[in-house]
Symmetry: C2
Subunit: 361 residues, 2 copies
């Protein structure tokens, strides 16, 4: 059992069950009966089988799709770790609310309901359609000097995510993408990744939204100092929630809570880029069986991302060199997942179509 | 100028013009003004820029989408080169016409009008909705013993493809996928590929729809013998149309004609797997500027496919380990291409959204 002061979190983790192997076997049997050479749909077959398992043998159609963009600022931006000023987090939230950001375009095109979740933006917002106001604090604390969150702040953010996952279930959503917005959050994600995948900070730290080589070095030094401050004297690997609290961020914590809640509710979750996948990795470290409910929308250009995906054990659906966040790579994978499910459900079988099966070659 | 007895083909090749570089520059300028870090949409930016160039600065929306599945049998199936009996080509055409194949499912989901083109199936079909009857012969000839097509047969198949591309343009189609069905056609595609990419047959020959190691060896020997018979004594590289005629197939020739015709009409074409890309490689060898109009829907598991893509100079959009053909990987890329275009057209700019640009990092 995890150590947590949140009974909600403890209950949710206890409610996440691995998928029934029998459904995967049944799915493969059906896939092999369809009018195509065995295995010829490649990754689409694994996607269909996973969806069949998540929904325990009955995939709901049409898939009700949604995307949640968790937004928060980061105290560590004081150290000059981003190419963009901190104000951009709030400006982009306004861009989301007026429909002009990349995620708006993709959510409209691929029929995903978009919710922007303010868990930690350093600005005040009025009520607005599509905005969920769950602010815990105006930005996390500067991880180089103190833990990014207090225990209470982290718990509030985690629980906000869980409550949203429960609301998503209540709304009948089946396939949800998680994205984020937060200037400075690749710094937090790199620090989390270094610990959770047990790699050097240099291996998992990239240029974020567009640092030059000097800026990236500054960021790397901030990450190294933060990791040393919080975990430098620990002998054993730190607990996942301590990693999240010390070097994470409010939007990352909320995403972690959301993913755990979605898995407990048997909702299929698509994680997006480096930051949302770092949240997924925290969720996975707490409850490894969440990977049964997780899809990786894509593999981003941030060097830490592929390490996280390997640790969680999920294969990216797309590899398009994207590094935008906001949930864009996750929503872009939705038509591929829907395709896999439709093929699984709608293709004719060899016997129904009167097609000859393979000779002994 | 190519040597051809077809004046239609000669006219089409002469009508294919490379895209105007100015449009690519203009597209990049717009991409860099959108509310996202420079380059952060990865391959989607190149896709959008190419679409902007193909349509000379005005991408038509909504994109009218279609998929053409060219079907034909292969004389070389006499040599036991496929895991499936020859009858499966005709059986699968019936499956397409009754809506049960993978391509039907994907075409329905992604709003692509499906046309099945019989250019060489060894069966007679009644008129049917969605079937285009352009049969040249009931199967190509056995390439191990004689050229797969006579000059006249090849020209008829090429011209069938060109006429279809012109009909597609007349119907207002903007984005067309090409797929195929033909038992034995990976044998033809491997033979074409070995010559056009200048690799050993063994490097570009795979297991097709599901051969075991022994079957794949048999197939490889057939390809080697065929290449030796037709090109063994040639000193210089054979002309692309001679390659197509001697070791190609009727559906491959029709696809080549279609791609050339589409490029002449400034229609965007998505090629699918190994076979349709071998047709694209013939088109590219005849008229290199066709690559400006071509997208690679995906990279298949067949080992020759990546060689063809490299030779043509196009990057696969998807990498999902598929090897089904029928146009499935091409249609699956349509929502990605549409996404790229929508982002390009609909995203806010930094100035319109009031978002700060990057600091000097």
């Amino acid at each position: 059992m995890i150590q947590t002061s949140s009974s909600l979190l403890g209950d949710v983790v206890a409610a996440i069950h691995p998928n029934d192997r029998q459904h995967a076997i049944e799915a493969q049997r059906r896939l092999d009966s369809l009018t195509k050479p065995i295995g010829s749909l490649g990754e689409l077959e694994a996607i269909a089988a996973r969806m069949f398992s998540i929904f325990a043998g009955k995939i709901p159609l049409p898939l009700h799709r949604a995307v949640y963009v968790f937004a928060g600022d980061h105290g560590v931006t004081e150290e000059g770790v981003s190419a963009y000023p901190r104000e951009v987090t709030a400006q982009m939230v306004h861009n989301f609310l007026s429909g002009g950001a990349a995620i708006n375009v993709l959510a409209r095109l691929h029929h995903a309901d978009l919710t922007v979740v303010d868990v930690g933006v350093d600005a005040e917002f009025e009520d607005a359609p599509g905005l969920c106001r769950m602010k815990v604090r105006r930005g996390s604390r500067n991880m180089q000097r103190e833990p990014a969150m207090t225990e209470e702040e982290m718990t509030s953010a985690l629980e906000a995510g869980i409550r949203l996952a429960n609301a998503s279930k209540a709304k009948g959503e089946h396939l949800v993408a998680v994205g984020e917005m937060g200037i400075g959050n690749t710094t937090a994600a790199s620090a989390i990744t270094a610990i959770l995948v047990d790699e050097q900070a240099g291996t998992v730290t990239g240029r974020g939204a567009g640092l030059d080589a000097e800026g990236r070095n500054r960021k790397l030094n901030v990450i190294r100092r933060s990791l040393k401050r919080h975990f430098g004297t620990t002998q054993k690997p730190p607990a996942p929630l301590d990693v999240l609290r010390c070097v994470g961020g409010l939007e990352i914590a909320a995403t972690t809570g959301f993913i755990l809640g979605a898995a407990a509710n048997r909702t299929a979750v698509i994680c997006d880029g480096f930051i949302s996948t770092s949240a997924a990795a925290v969720a996975h470290a707490i409850a490894p069986q969440v990977s049964d409910y997780l899809f990786a929308g894509h593999c981003s250009e941030e060097p830490g991302h592929r390490h996280l995906l390997r640790t969680i054990g999920i294969t990216p659906i797309l590899n398009l060199g994207m590094r935008l966040g906001e949930g864009t790579g996750a929503v872009l994978a939705m038509p591929i997942i829907e395709s896999a499910v439709r093929l699984f459900n709608e293709m004719a079988t060899f016997s129904s179509a009167g097609v000859s099966v393979a000779d002994k070659a």
